[in-house]
């Protein structure tokens, strides 16, 4: 029987794995079916930068051979897409920038290598905010991604293409990266699950750097169980990333079903203040009630310095960005200006032409806060406040197991709505940035609709508590069906 007869696009990773194992369809049939769906629908969403049909079919055939030889693992033959920030050997990797429009990496990112090694089939590379700097996908050189729930709205960012592709049922899963909310906010705005693991849990090798002390790779899926499946393959020590953490990787799937009876959930008082859309607040409160019904206890907590997390981030992240972006010099790789007068002109014009406005803004902000006379007042000060914020979380986790609240202050906003004012755009990440500053794992789970648009429930845990977050999200999804809600026209 062909894959089309099984409506494979509607199935999640776990269901597809069952179908492959049972012989209901082959990986080639599955891949052909999804490639056809992508060919028909991806352009309207602008979710992809590159579709890798030939490589995908070859990988699918390999997976089918392995299965026939009895060598299939849990991910063998399962399709996914990678955010175009992950280097893929021989496949263009643009990071959403003109700067890297023609860049073809000579190597694979560790995330790509591990997932390919586990037998997954990459269908393509997804659109994103330029160098992951943005919260709406509008800073991409390749144009904004459209939200499948409403094509006039943003899917969030920076992993907007990954989120839109999963929400539109073009693929069951996508990788993403999260520096200030870039996995979780688009997941919330598109009704998908987005997990940002603990800093250092997943290797950053081959993941084009934005802010190295905050960047972390994760995934966007439709269920927490699928996120657990992928994390199993992605997590773990990598000697090629100097901040990769050498800690054992638990069995993420084993803990999914544990009851929530003993779970203590902290609700951050400051996260339900005036900045939160009323409909969103209502949906999140209902979701918290659903956790309570499963035996969890809720208590209000304070994170006294959390209101400073966005300004802290907008010193630390641009500072690291300005340093990381200095590698783009028009000499070794990337865009180069025509007929430079001298070396200085080559640098300045190559960078001015290669980078978009938001990336330049962040490079300049970072250059300013690190420059002589301002370093102590901005950068050093921000790293101190960052420590205070991390201490607040540590104190809170003495009394609660997870911290819950909204992922984003509003549902998806209209394209063009926030592009004039960088601060308004930055404030979109007000609830997610704290986890990055403190290096904590966090997940967004679909928990309702506000005016017909998805709302995300945000759960943050202590370092290395991915199991607990996935367990909590999975139990919530077992009792609710918001993750099954599908944008009109994409069922």
């Amino acid at each position: 029987m062909a894959a089309d007869d099984h409506a494979v696009h509607a199935l999640n990773l776990a269901e597809l794995a069952q179908g492959l194992a049972a012989g209901d369809f082959t990986s080639r049939q599955l891949t052909e079916s999804l490639l056809a769906r992508i060919a028909g629908r991806a352009a309207a969403l602008n979710a992809f930068i590159t579709v890798t049909a030939d490589q995908a079919l070859a990988a699918a055939d390999r997976a089918d051979r392995h299965r026939a030889e009895g060598k299939a693992g849990p991910l063998t033959g399962l399709p996914l897409v990678h955010k175009d920030i992950f280097c893929t050997r021989g496949v263009p990797t643009t990071c959403g920038s003109r700067m890297l429009e023609t860049f073809v990496p000579p190597y694979d990112a560790t995330v790509v290598e591990r997932l390919a090694g586990a037998g997954t089939v990459m269908l393509g590379k997804t659109n994103m905010d330029e160098f992951a700097m943005g919260s709406s996908n509008e800073t991409s050189w390749f144009g904004p991604v459209r939200n499948p729930w409403d094509h006039g709205r943003s899917p969030g960012g920076s992993s907007g293409g990954s989120a839109a592709a999963v929400a539109a049922r073009l693929v069951p899963a996508a990788t993403g990266t999260d520096t200030g909310g870039s996995i979780r906010q688009p997941a919330a705005l598109t009704g998908t699950v987005g997990l940002k693991p603990t800093y250092g849990r997943v290797s950053r090798y081959g993941m084009i750097a934005f802010a190295s002390s905050l960047d972390q790779a994760g995934m966007i899926t439709r269920t927490a169980a699928d996120a657990a499946l992928l994390l199993q393959a992605m997590a773990g020590f990598d000697e090629r990333d100097s901040t990769s953490v050498d800690e054992p990787v638990p069995d993420y799937t084993a803990a999914l079903d544990a009851p929530l009876r003993e779970l203590r959930v902290g609700i951050v008082r400051q996260h339900f203040d005036a900045g939160l859309d009323a409909d969103t607040a209502k949906q999140v409160r209902t979701a918290l009630g659903a956790l309570e019904e499963q035996g969890a206890t809720l208590r209000e907590i304070d994170l006294p310095n959390i209101d400073l997390s966005v300004p802290t981030y907008y010193v630390v992240a641009p500072a690291e960005c300005s340093s990381n972006m200095s590698r783009f010099d028009g000499v070794r790789f990337g865009h180069r200006a025509e007929e430079p007068r001298d070396l200085h002109d080559l640098y300045c014009r190559s960078r001015a032409e290669g980078f978009g406005a938001e990336v330049k803004r962040r490079i300049m902000t970072g250059t300013y806060v690190l420059s002589a006379g301002y370093y102590d007042a901005y950068y050093l000060k921000a790293q101190k406040v960052r420590q205070l914020i991390a201490d607040d979380f540590r104190a809170a986790f003495a009394d609660v197991d997870v911290i819950a609240g909204p992922t984003a202050p509003t549902p998806a906003f209209a394209l063009g709505d926030k592009t004039d004012d960088p601060i308004t755009m930055y404030l979109n990440d007000i609830y997610t940035i704290g986890a990055n500053l403190a290096g904590l794992p966090a997940i967004s789970v679909p928990c309702g609709l506000a005016a017909g648009l998805p709302v995300g429930l945000h759960l943050v845990g202590p370092h290395f508590a991915e199991e607990r977050l996935l367990n909590c999200a999975h139990r919530y999804q077992a009792e609710t069906d918001w993750h099954l809600a599908c944008p009109e026209g994409y069922a």
Binding site: T198, Y199, P311, Y347, T365, P422
Partner: protein
């Protein structure tokens, strides 16, 4: 606080970014807003706080001093805009 045209031009030079004259006013306006916004941090009491060095308070891992890289110059230079005889070409720097 408002950044002047000269300040913006200086930052752009440090960052090796060419900025057109007719862009400076807008860049200055947006950068000033960001600088004002992060200026909120000044009021935070941090006298006895050590700046964060690592989110997990770990120290940098060291590796053994062994050769692990191989020379793959040609493969890496395939992405370079201009090379000759294995060398990256830039405009003349010594007159």
């Amino acid at each position: 606080m408002s950044l002047s045209r000269d300040q913006v031009q200086h930052i752009a030079t440090l960052a090796r970014l060419d900025i057109a004259d007719d862009e400076i006013a807008e860049v200055a306006e947006k950068l000033s807003r960001i600088v004002d916004f992060v200026g909120e941090l000044a009021a935070a009491p941090t006298d006895d706080v050590l700046p964060m060095a690592h989110p997990l308070h770990r120290t940098q891992r060291l590796r053994a001093d062994e050769v692990t890289e191989t020379v793959e110059r040609d493969r890496y230079q395939a992405n370079a805009p201009s090379v000759r005889d294995g060398l990256y070409l830039v405009p003349k720097v010594i007159e």
